[in-house]
């Protein structure tokens, strides 16, 4: 009988459990969970701040999920070492757990630069876990002046979540625009304007260099007073456990299309991994929840004896602030075709006759049709792209393609 061990208890772990169980209903599964929580929807922590959801609703799976899946969860423990020869995982309490197949789904951690004086800042938070969100929610008051370092997805979602609860919110970032990892200048400007209209202040091309109690001294020399500091500079994949076992890592744990690491019988999935981006044909960290699940699931299927490839991963993001949504997918580099009108911008990146990326702000209906073009590598010549760029619609496909799409069992 197989003994499966999954390090981590996030989305990728759930995918992995469900993947294993699709092939093997017998083997034992042990999940090592650092957090003292059953799996929850990590991206919802900003909605939790906002009171748009609650702890109970944030459960990613029903309360009997582990039981029904025949899993044992070890809460509050951290896996510290893998012995690939003896095929054992060691926990921080020195327990050794033997495995036949292992999945590393350790996720990522906030990256905190070494700011001078940071240790003396009261009320500083990161924004990665439900515990972070609970602590933040407890501390915030209507008078709080909030400084968020980092205008990326995490920082801005946090800003939105705190909007109605804080006195003021300032976000700073060394980059010249908001959401610099996913939006270009023009699109970022639209989003920034919208955020500013909702009373979020920005300091761009600027960041804190040092802290004096509750004052941030900025690179520009400005001094910013705050009550609450949120550190959302970035995240780093948790790769140490593989690295220490001499597994291959880049910025993340390197996995192939079967979600195998370079170590025998060791798989990896989710935010800790680096895998092939089908839109750019390059290795990337694609830390987002849908990919985490799919990677986990693929790893699980293969761990359970299956033989499934996952080779259509692409980076993608759907993000909205105060009612304005932006979506991006694939690789957005080089020349683009633009469609715009009042309230929206759409940019499409076409390379060698294929759609390789897009960026949408304001008009996102049926964007999945665009995403599928990237994912399925549909030649632009097969579709009416002039129609499609204006409106995402299956009408842009030929009757035959549509018949295939809609006529049978998908």
């Amino acid at each position: 009988m197989n003994r499966y061990i999954i390090i981590g208890n996030g989305t990728a772990a759930v995918g992995c459990i469900e993947g294993i169980r699709s092939n093997d209903s017998e083997g034992s599964i042990i999940v090592i969970s650092q957090e003292n929580h059953a799996v929850y929807c990590r991206p919802l922590i900003s909605y939790f701040l906002e009171d748009r959801t609650n702890i109970e609703k944030m459960n990613y799976r029903a309360s009997d999920f582990y039981q029904k899946s025949g899993c044992t969860v070890i809460y509050g423990k951290t896996a510290v070492k893998i012995d690939t020869v003896a095929k054992q995982v060691f926990l921080d309490d020195a327990t050794a757990l033997p495995y036949t197949k292992l999945c590393v789904a350790t996720g990522s951690s906030p990256f905190i630069p070494n700011f001078e004086g940071i240790e003396n800042v009261n009320n500083k938070f990161t924004f990665m876990t439900i515990d972070d969100a609970i602590a933040l929610k407890k501390t915030i008051t209507k008078e709080s002046k909030v400084l968020i370092i980092g205008a990326g997805l995490i920082g801005l979602k946090c800003a939105e979540g705190l909007h109605d609860k804080a006195g003021s919110i300032t976000v700073c970032d060394l980059a010249d625009r908001v959401l610099s990892s996913i939006l270009d200048n023009d699109c970022a400007a639209i989003m920034q304007k919208h955020l500013e209209e909702n009373n979020i202040s920005f300091l761009l091309r600027d960041t804190a260099v040092k802290f004096e109690k509750n004052t941030a001294i900025m690179k520009s020399g400005k001094k910013i007073n705050f009550d609450i500091l949120v550190l959302a500079v970035g995240v780093k994949p948790n790769t140490d456990i593989i690295k220490n076992a001499s597994g291959k890592i880049g910025r993340g744990i390197i996995v192939n299309e079967f979600m195998k690491t370079s170590l025998t019988d060791v798989y990896a999935a989710g935010d800790c991994t680096e895998s092939l981006d089908a839109s750019s044909e390059s290795m990337k960290i694609m830390a987002l929840m849908p990919n985490a699940y799919m990677q986990g699931h693929t790893a699980g299927v293969n761990m359970g004896g299956g033989n499934r490839k996952l080779n259509n991963m692409i980076p993608m993001n759907s993000i909205g602030f105060f009612g304005l949504h932006a979506m991006t997918a694939g690789s957005c580099f080089g020349e683009y075709i633009e469609e715009n009108n009042e309230g929206y911008v759409k940019r499409f990146y076409i390379n060698n006759g294929y759609l390789t990326g897009f960026m949408l702000v304001g008009k996102t209906e049926r964007a999945g049709i665009y995403t599928s073009l990237i994912r399925e590598k549909t030649p632009i010549s097969e579709i009416n792209f002039d129609m499609l760029k204006k409106v995402a619609t299956s009408a842009a496909f030929s009757t035959e393609i549509r018949k295939k799409k809609f006529g049978g069992v998908i």
């Binding site: 995918g15 929807c41 991206p43 919802l44 909605y47 748009r52 959801t53 609703k57 944030m58 459960n59 990613y60 799976r61 929840m289 849908p290 699940y293 799919m294 699931h297 993608m316 993001n317 759907s318 993000i319 909205g320 009612g323 949504h325 979506m327 997918a329 996102t364 209906e365 049926r366 964007a367 999945g368 049709i369 995403t371 599928s372 994912r375 399925e376 129609m387 995402a392 619609t393 299956s394 009408a395 009757t399 549509r402 799409k405 809609f406 006529g407 049978g408 069992v409 998908i410």
Partner: protein, 146 residues
């Protein structure tokens, strides 16, 4: 199992399916009260151009990418039906970003909604199918869908 299919050859773009859907899911007994003077948020919609038109609603995929992608764990599939728990959904639109059919759309409250084959309401067959004047929308079993 039976699913909703669209024969675009017969779709007249009359949009009745949208109204029947909005009504069926309104929980109100008569259509006038349910829909008069309000914008509608149906779970099926007509697409097309001057030449062709067709209705699009959830395909209830065998391996639904929306279920895998939902960041709120709000979408699930059971008994062949992909359903959404509107209590859990936060309206992040990730499902919109991944659904290759464009089958999901937000309701009036910004929370996502999708076709659930009218199993949750009092209609015994999907309202869009029942009300289609030209049998362009059918509810039937097809090859491979047992």
């Amino acid at each position: 199992m039976k699913l909703i299919y669209v024969n675009e050859e017969w779709c007249l773009a009359c949009h009745l399916c949208e109204y029947n859907c909005a009504f069926a899911n309104s929980g109100v007994r008569d259509m006038v009260t349910a829909l008069k003077g309000k914008p509608i948020f149906p779970r099926i919609h007509i697409e097309g151009d001057e030449k062709i038109s067709f209705a699009v609603s959830c395909r209830h995929c065998t391996d639904p990418i929306c279920v895998k992608s939902c960041i709120a764990g709000a979408i699930s599939k059971s008994d062949g039906v992909v359903r959404i728990d509107r209590e859990k959904c936060v309206g992040c639109l990730t499902c919109v970003l991944v659904c290759p059919f464009g089958a999901l759309s937000p309701g009036e409250d910004g929370i996502m909604q999708k076709c659930e084959l009218c199993i949750q309401n009092s209609f015994d067959e999907p309202a869009c199918v029942k009300g289609c004047p030209n049998k362009a929308i059918v509810y039937e079993e097809r090859e491979g869908n047992k």
